[in-house]
Symmetry: D5
Subunit: 188 residues, 10 copies
C-alpha cells in the first residue's frame, strides 16, 4: 500500500534556514498549510544541488500558492549550514533544510536506503491536514523537474476546494473538471 | 524503503490489446525493453479514461524511444475489452491493458488499497533489466500528465548509456550532464 | 462445516440498480425479507449474462414470494453499470448488482477463488433473519437454472411457517409434508 | 474458498450395497467414472428416506450417463443394512450406502455439523479425475430434487468433452452452447 | 489417572425409551440416584444386543436397588428406536438408550475409539453425586456379564452408607465388612 | 480413549515371589503368555489383603489356563516381602508381587492417583502379545471378585483362537458363540 | 543454590507414632521448635533400621534441647506401623514416622531419586522459623552417625541466641566463639 | 534431586598450594583418588580460617587414606596466596586452595548464593570415579568438624571395596557391616 | 550504545575505608558530588596496586575539586581490608574500596569479563546527578595514568557550570572554550 | 562486557583522504598495523574540529610508532571532503576520514546514539590483529587530549613485544615494568 492518503508520522529534527538560527521542526510544521517535502541523498554530492536550486526557483510561486517547502537529507543541520555557505547553487535557497541524521523522517516516508543510510530522491505533496497527496521518486542520477509540481499543487487544491469534482489528466488551472455521476460512467 | 532500484516481482495475468485476442502477460514482458506501467483505480470511472487517453497520445513518442506501455487495474481483461469498445477516449488506446483481479501486480508495486480493492494512481518507469527507475503516485482526483514522462525516460536512458554521468535537475536531451568527481564536490 | 445455518457476515459495498443512482449495501439489506445472493465470476464474460438474465426471468415470481435478489461479482459498480448499458441480456436486469472489488463478500460466502481473484458460481438462499438456508455452486462452464430456486424458496418458507413439519424430496407447494414423530421413524 | 475444482481427499470406510456383503470403500472408488456423493443427516429420520428414494428413481438414468451414486451418513454400515431391510423407501435402493461413523468423509466434504455429529444435506458431482464439479446443500427440513442432477451431469459432461465451449443458463442436452471468444465479450 | 473418583462431565444428548417420545438427557440425569452407564460400539451389530438384553434382565433388580440404567452408542436416537422395534433382544429393553453421534459422552468417559468413531465396551457405576465408582471395559468380541454388577452396586452402596467400613474381596450383602483401624494394620 | 487394544508400555521393576530371591521384572515378562496385572493401593492396608488372597485362590485355575499373575503397588519389594511374612492372608500368595515405588507401571496403566501417590484398584487382562484385553477398576473400599476373571479369560482366549467368532454376553465355556455376518445384522 | 537458609515448603502427609493413631502432619509441625527431618530410602531395607535406631538413642537428648524428630520415607504410614511392629530396632522408635508415598516432601527437600522413587539419606536441621540450618546427605550404603547432630544443634542454637557471634570449627558447648569485627580480619 | 551419586561437572580454575607456583586445576584433578572438596564463603573472614585449619589437622590422616583435599571460595588464587602468607591459621595449610572468581565450581556443586556471590559452607566427598558420595552443608556461623570426615571416608571406601555389604549407622572401621539379602529383610 | 550520558544503575555492596568499620554502599553514594569509579581485576595482583596508588596520589586534588573516589573489584571487602593492611602501595589508600563479589556493579558498568569473573580496567567519571561523563578502559597489562583525570574533571565541571560552552581538545583550566553558535559552524 | 579484547567487526565504507580520490575502507584496513579509530559526532560542529586537529598534530609521531589513524562520523565522505576544504583546522588533516552514514561502524564499536543518529566521542586503539586494546569515550562538550594516546600506544606495544611483563600505572617508555610471579603477590 502506498503512502498516498495517509497522514505524516511524528518526528523531531533540527533544521537550518538562511538568516535564522538553528531551530526544531516536527511533523506539526508540515500541517496548517500545503507542504512540499523534498528528499535527496547527500549534501555536497552531484545531482542534489541542481535539484534544490531548481526547487528554489519555484519557491516564490509555491509560496503564492500557500505552499511551504522543506528539503531533507540524512546529513546534519550543521552540514546544511556549511553547504549553504559554500555552494553557489545551494546558497540561494530560502526554504527550510531539515537534518535527519537519526533517519526517522526518511523511514517515515519510506525512502531510506538501509544499505547506504541515504534517502531516495522522493518528493511529497502534503495537504493542510498532513495527508500525503502525491509522491514522486527517481532513481539516483535522474534529476527532478520542480516546475511539474505547480500543476499538481493547483489540481490538489482545486479538488480540496471543490468536493465532488475531479481533475482529468493534463488538467491546468481554469480548464474544465469532471463531476462524477452515474450518467458519465462509460461516457468518457 | 521505496521500490526504486528493485527488480519487478513475478506475476501472471490476462491482458487485452486492440486488434489481438486475449493473451497472457508476465513480469518477463516488462523486461528486454524500457517499460511504463500505469496503474489506475477502475475502468468506467472518471479521471481514469482521460489519463489513459493522455498516455496514448504519448505512445508513438514513447515507442520511438523504445518504451513499451502497460496499463493495469484490478478489473478483468473482459472489462478492459468492453471499455475499449464503448468509450471514445479508451477506444483510441493501442498499448496493452492488463487485468489484475487477483490483485497480485498491484500488491507487487505497493499500490493496492486494501480497503477498496482498487489500485492507487501510480506510474512506474522500468529499465530493460526490469529495475524500477521512477515512481509517481497521485491521490484520487488528481490526474497525471503523461508528457512529463518523456524527459524522465530520456534522462534515465542517458544515465544508463553513459555510466559515470548524472542528469541534473530540469535536464533535457542535449543539455549538459554532470560527471561526478572529487573535484566538483561542493563546487556546484 | 458448511455455511448452512450460519448468519451472513458483515460487509459494506457499492451497488448499481437500473434507474437508481449508485448506493451503499450492507449485510443488513439481506435481512428483513428472504434474499437470494447470486455470485458469478466476471462481468462481460460468457456464461454469466445468460445466468443473470435467467434469474431476471424469475424475478417477478420471486418478488411475489417476498424474495429480494442480489447479484455479486468482484467487478466494481462502475462496470456493472456499463455492462447493464451495453449488454442486451444484462440490460433487462431489475435487481441489485453489487460490486465486490475488495473481495469481502466473496470471502464471507466462501466462494472466492484466491488464484484468479474471481467468485465461484454460488447461489445462496437467505431467510429474513439473515441465516443461510441453501447453497448451490457450479464449476466454471456449467450454467445454473434459476427456476429450481422457486421450489426451494417455497419449501424453505413452508418449513419456517410450519415449525414441526418437513418437506420431503421433490416436494412442491400443496403436496404433503411430513410431521416428524416417534411413530414414523423407520416407517417411511 | 469453495471445494469446487478441488480433488476429493482420502478416506477409508465400510459400506453396504443390496445383495452384497459389507465392503471397504475409499476415495479411489469415486474416481474413474462420474460420481454423485449424497450426504444426509441420519438413517431412520424423516426427510432422508424420501430423498434417498428419489435419488434411486434417477439411478438407472444416472447409470446410463456413466454416473455412480454413493450415499453417506455418519451412521454405521450395520445401520444402513438394517434401514434397508426395514424401510420400504430405503429398501428399493440399489446404490452404495457408505457408513461414516468416524466422520472423516463428512469433514473432507466440509458438511459435518460439529455440534450434532451429523452431516448437512449436501450433494456433490465429481468428475472421473475425482474433481468436484457441483455442490448443493440444503438446510434441515428442505428436501432435494434429484431430477435436477440429470441436467447438471449432462452439462458437466458436455463441457469436459468439448473443451472451449460452455453451457449457458438453463442449458439442456442438444441446445446450443457458447464458444468463449474475444468477439462475444459484451455481446450477450 | 483413571476416572474413578471423578465427577461425570457435562453433555446434552437425545435419547429413546420404550413407550416415550424422544427426549433430551444431560449429565444431571445421571445424578440424584445411582446410575449405570453402559457403552457399546454399534446398534445392529453382533455382541451388543446380547449384552443389552442381559443388562435388561438385571434391570428390575437394579431398579429395586435404586439404580437407573443408560446405554450409550454413537448411533442416533432414531437408530435406537428402529433397533428396538426390529430386534427381539433389544425390543425387550425398558431403560434409556442415549444417542451420542457427536461423540461427546464417549469422549467424556474416555472410551471413544478415534479411528472407528465407535465406543469401547465400557460399563460405569456412578453414585448419586455423579462420581464414578467402578469401571469395566472389555475388548471387542468379549461380552460382559451384567449379573456381576449387582454385587458391585451393593458394595458401593454399603460403603457410601457406612462411612468408615470397607467391603473386602468377594463381599456379598450380609457378609462381614472391615473397619479400618490402626489395630488391624498387618493383621489380615 | 481407553487402554483396551493398546500394548503395555516398557518398565523395569524389582519383584518378590515366595521362595525366590528378589528379581527384576520388565514388560517383557507380561508377554508370551496370558497375564493378569492387579493393582492395589497399599501393603498393610485394609481391603487389599483380602483381594490378593482371593486372587491367590484362583491362581491354580488361572495357571491351568496359561495365565500368569502379577500384583502391583507403589510399595517396594522389601515391603512386599515383609507383608508376605507377617500377614496370614498375604502369606499364602504364590504369584509375583511387583514393587513400583517409581510409579512408572501405575502411570503406564493410567491408575496412579497423583495426589496420594497410590494406585487405583485396577485389574488388567493382557494377551500373549502384550495387548490389554479387559480393564476393571473399583473405587477405594469396594473389593473385587477374582472369580469373575475366569470367564473373561476363557472368552478372550476363545476369541483369540477362533478369529471370526465373538462371545455374547454371559458367555461361558462350551456355550454358543456368534459368527458375525451380514445375515444376522438386526436378527438378534 | 543449596536449601540452606530457605524455609521449608508446604506439604500434607499421614504419619505414625508409637502409641497414637495415624495422624496428619504438615510443614507447620516442623516450626515452633527445632526439628530434625531424617530421610531414608525404604522401610524393611538394610542400613535404614540401624540409622533410625541410632537416631532414637539421641532422641531424649534432642528432646532436652527442644528438638523434635521426624523420619520420612516414600513408604506409607501403614508400612511404618508394620515395620515398627515387626522390627526390634525400629520397634524402639518414639519419634514421628512420616509416610511420603506422593513424594512431595522428598521433592521439597531435594532428595528424591526420580529413577528409583526413593529418598536419598538426607538429614536436615530446621530452626523454629522453619528455616533449614544444616544438611547432610550420604550415598546408599554409608550410614549416618546421629551423635554428630548434637553439636550442630548446640552451635545453631548458640548462634541464634547470640546474634553477632559465630561458632568456629570443632566448636563445643562452652568453648569460645568468635565476634566478627574489622579488627580480626586476617588475624586468625 | 541431590547431587549424591552424580559425577562432578567440568571446570577450569587457578589454584595455590604452599611451595608451588600458581597452577591450573580441572575436574580431572578430583578423579583418580578420593577427594574432599570444601567450600567456604570468603578468605579473610571469620569462621573460615578455623575450619580450614581444622581440615589441615586431618590432612595427614586423609592422605594416608588416599584422599586429596581441595578448598574452594570465590576469591582469586592471588588472595589465597596472600591469606596463606598473612594468617597463622591458614599459613599451616598444605592442601590445594582453588580460586573460583567465575563462580563455576560453586554453581556446579549447587552451593553458590546468588545474592552475595559467595559459596555456602559445603563439604563433598568424591570417589575415584568423580562421583559424589557425601554432602554436608552448614548455615553461616555454624562451623564444621573435619574429624567426622574420617569415618565417612572409611565407610565409603569399605563399601566401594566390598560390593554387596553396607555400613550401618555409627559404623567404625573394623566393626561389622551388613550383607543385604532377602533373609534379613525385616529382621533388623 | 555506550554508557555515556546514562545514569548509574542501582546496587548494594559492602566497602572498606581506612580507619572506618565496614559499611554499605549504594548507587546513591555516587551522586550528590562528582565521583570517579575505578574498576580493576583483582586484589593482590600485579598492575592493580600501582594503579590504585597512582589514583591515591591524585586523591587530595580530586577532593579539592569536589570529587569522591571509589575503587571496585570482584573481591570481598574482607580482602580489601587485608590487602590494605599488607601492601605498602595499597596501604596508602584513603578512598573507599568497594567489594563486588556478586558482580552486580561490574555488570552495571559493562566491564565484567564473564569467563574470568573479573572486572576490566575501566575508569568512569560521574556527575552529581549520577550520569556517566567519561569512560576509559585498558586491556590487561596496560596501566592507567590517573593524572589525566584531573583535566577531564575540570572540563566536565566547566561544561556543567557553563551551559552553552564546550571545551575544545587539549583544553586546560583557564584556556578558552567555544560557544556553539550558527556563526562558528565551519569557521574552526 | 566491554569491547576490550574483542576483534573489530566487519564493515564497508567510503572514505576521504587529502590528495587522494574517494576510496573504500573495510575492517581489514584496521589490521596489519596498529590503528587508532577516533569517532566524533558531526562535521562542521564545535568541539570536533579541535579534536581532529589535535590528533593530526600527533599523526607524525603515531606514524613513527607504526600507528595508522582513522576518524569516523556518520556524515558522508562528500561532507568530509567539503569540511576539509573549508575548515582551517580540518584542512590540515592528513589521515583517513571515514564516512559512516549507514551507521554500521558506529554500531560495531558501540558508540551510536540511537536518538540523535550521531556517534559518541570514542577513541579506540587496535593492535595489528584487529583486537581492541584501549577505549576512551567522553560526553559531548568534553574534548579529548590526543597526546595521552602516545603513552598508551607505547605501553600496548611493549606488552605485545614482551609477553610476561606488564606496565604499571603511569608507565613511560624506558621505565620499569613488572614481571608477574608468585613472589610479588602482595609485595607491591
Amino acid at each position: 500500500m502506498s503512502l498516498i492518503g495517509s497522514e505524516v508520522l511524528p518526528f523531531t529534527a533540527s533544521a537550518f534556514k538562511a538568516g535564522e538560527d538553528f531551530f526544531e521542526v516536527t511533523e506539526e510544521n508540515l500541517k496548517g498549510q500545503w507542504s512540499i517535502v523534498c528528499f535527496y541523498p547527500a549534501d555536497f554530492s552531484f545531482v542534489c544541488p541542481t535539484e534544490l536550486e531548481d526547487l528554489q526557483k519555484q519557491y516564490a510561486t509555491l509560496k503564492d500558492l500557500g505552499v511551504e517547502v522543506f528539503s531533507v537529507s540524512t546529513d546534519t543541520h550543521f552540514v546544511h549550514k556549511a553547504w549553504h555557505e559554500h555552494s553557489t547553487a545551494v546558497g540561494s535557497i530560502e526554504y527550510t533544510m531539515i537534518g535527519d541524521p537519526s533517519q526517522t523522517i526518511s523511514r517515515n516516508f519510506d525512502v531510506l536506503n538501509e544499505a547506504s543510510g541515504l534517502a531516495d530522491r522522493g518528493t511529497f505533496l502534503i495537504d493542510p491536514d498532513g495527508v500525503i497527496q502525491t509522491v514522486e521518486i527517481n532513481a539516483d542520477g535522474i534529476g527532478r523537474d520542480a516546475s511539474t509540481l505547480i500543476n499538481k499543487v493547483k489540481a490538489a487544491q482545486y479538488v480540496r476546494q471543490n468536493p465532488g469534482e475531479v481533475c482529468p489528466a493534463k488538467w491546468e488551472e481554469g480548464s474544465e473538471t469532471l463531476k462524477p455521476s452515474l450518467d458519465i460512467v462509460g461516457k468518457i
